[in-house]
């Protein structure tokens, strides 16, 4: 508990300073301490590997801070609540309560999963953000989509056409061993589109991801985001999952 209290104070202080430097040391300590008394894992907000302002001008610091500290945090808070209720509903046992919780778990758990991947998918340009993938993922993209540019075009088109809130993905189908572009509505994670799908890259097309900067012009957000995509991360996942 002491570690959590320390983390809270440090997080608060960094929020007040409005810079929120990565808290990797504090986070590691907190992660170890995040089990409730009943042994239920309590999820906490993962740190970013870069500062909120580091993706500017593609994504503003204000958007990044709100998106990470408010939106992602809310998914985590509600995911933890739902899991706690699930545990007590199972213990009771109350089957209808268990079933009723599924939608909240999918939404909030999905929100946590998707955003955790999204932060990894981004990197400041000076740290390699936007550099096209090399190696096996680069080859695979050429094979499945014709070219890197063709992939970008496909993702942009599908992301722009998505009605309402959701995500557009580049995923690996582990069974068919091929790359796919998929969209999911709301906070549905990619795995809801198929149990063999592994997300390599997910782009958040909820309005909260871009509205303060791009307003109604989602295609511009999609066009620009490629300048800060971290292909190193996508390549690592691809190599691990396709071997």
């Amino acid at each position: 508990m002491a570690a959590r209290a320390l983390l809270s104070r440090r997080t608060l202080a960094s929020v007040l300073r409005n810079d929120a430097k990565p808290l990797r040391v504090g986070f590691a300590a907190a992660a170890a301490a995040t089990h409730s008394r009943r042994g239920l894992h309590v999820y906490t907000l993962p740190d970013l590997d870069y500062d909120y302002g580091a993706l500017e001008p593609v994504i503003s610091g204000e958007i990044m801070q709100l998106h990470h500290q408010k939106h992602h945090q809310t998914y985590i808070t509600n995911y933890n609540k739902a899991l706690e209720q699930l545990q007590s509903s199972i213990a009771k046992p109350d089957s209808s309560a268990v079933v009723k919780l599924q939608s909240a778990i999918k939404f909030n758990g999905g929100g946590h999963i998707n955003h955790s991947i999204f932060w990894k998918n981004l990197a400041p340009a000076r740290e390699g953000g936007g550099e096209p993938p090399k190696g096996s993922l680069g080859w695979a993209i050429d094979t499945h989509f014709g070219s890197f540019e063709a992939l970008i075009q496909k993702v942009n088109a599908e992301g722009a056409a998505l009605q309402g809130s959701g995500w557009v993905w580049l995923g690996l189908d582990k069974e068919l061993k091929r790359l796919v572009v998929e969209t999911t509505p709301n906070q549905d994670p990619l795995v809801t589109k198929g149990p063999n799908l592994v997300p390599l890259l997910g782009i958040d097309v909820w309005e909260h991801a871009y509205y303060l900067q791009y307003k109604n012009v989602r295609p511009d957000y999609l066009k620009n985001i490629w300048k800060v995509i971290n292909w190193k991360y996508a390549s690592e996942v691809y190599e691990k999952e396709s071997s």
Partner: protein, 305 residues
């Protein structure tokens, strides 16, 4: 596609579902319910001379700064001036020269919904209609409490105005993504072609709170008459409230709702229901008066076989 089915908001639950769902999730005239159509407008291409009817973007029934400080002029400039306009423009482009051209906006919504197997024009048609309806659901200095018939029905069907407020806010704030929350007047009907409830009465019609994802609205379900809506797409509140969706919903109910508009819509819904019934009754009587032809036809057909 169970997302497209009506989901009645449940407010009674020991689990308090609303706690688990973050929500991210307009003067008025009776003739303004339907989109007005321009009588004629030349198409852009100079070569073409045929005249096509187009839906036009109708402005909110108040100036764009009239809802400040709750809903800013900037929000209205984007929400009406960009989002709403894009839906209308795209719709006009999509239906130009197709079978859908020439219908009222309301009919376009229902036809393009196509019983859940939606046609491409549905999202734009429904969003164009939804936004008109949304602008007219608000007014400067709105909020407070309804009166008269509407209040009586709210109290009858929800228990009290406060309970209605709770249910409406819960529905709005438990939306999983983009969408709308509605108060609607639900006609009591058997949705079966040849069945009639012999003891139907006005008392059977109920006020209900429903929420719909993305562009869907209650028009697409038979016998739902929308009375009030709140837009819970993030673009409706992000500039003014950021992630404060619950706050937006509360303030909307406290300060923006035009209960006059809602009351008027209720009266219109009742009138429409009565018209439909009279029409159905008239048809039934006509059928009864000429029973011989329909019996004779199958016999003739059998003989020809």
């Amino acid at each position: 596609m169970n997302l497209l089915l009506p989901s009645t908001a449940s407010s009674s639950s020991s689990l308090s579902p609303s706690a688990l769902f973050p929500c991210y999730s307009h003067g008025f005239s009776s003739s303004s319910f339907k989109f007005s159509k321009k009588e004629s407008r030349c198409t852009r291409k100079a070569k073409r001379t045929e005249i096509t009817a187009k839906f036009e973007l109708k402005p909110p029934p108040y100036p764009l700064n009239a809802l400040e400080p709750i809903m800013s002029q900037e929000t209205l400039e984007y929400h009406w001036g960009k989002h709403h306009r894009t839906y209308v423009d795209n719709l006009n482009r999509q239906i130009d020269g197709t079978d859908l051209d020439g219908n009222s906006l309301e009919d376009t919504v229902v036809i393009s919904y196509n019983k859940g197997d939606i046609l491409p024009a549905f999202n734009n048609a429904a969003q164009a209609w939804n936004h008109d309806f949304f602008w007219e659901s608000m007014k400067p200095g709105g909020g407070g409490k309804p009166s008269g018939d509407l209040l009586k029905l709210i109290e009858r069907d929800f228990g009290s105005f406060e309970k209605f407020l709770d249910e409406f806010k819960t529905a709005a704030s438990t939306q999983f993504g983009s969408g709308w929350a509605w108060l609607a007047y639900k006609e009591s009907r058997l949705d079966v072609g040849n069945a009639v409830n012999p003891l139907r009465s006005d008392e059977d019609n109920k006020l209900v709170v429903v929420k719909t994802p993305n562009a869907v609205n209650p028009l697409v379900w038979n016998y739902y008459h929308p009375l009030l809506t709140i837009d819970i797409w993030e673009h409706a509140y992000f500039i003014d409230f950021q992630n404060g969706c619950r706050n937006y919903i509360s303030v909307f109910m406290d300060k923006l709702v035009s209960w006059e508009a809602v009351s008027l819509r209720l009266e219109q819904a009742k009138a429409r229901i009565m018209e439909r019934e009279e029409e159905a009754e008239r048809k039934r009587r006509e059928e009864e008066e000429k029973p011989t032809i329909s019996k004779a036809t199958p016999e003739l057909w059998t003989q020809n076989e």
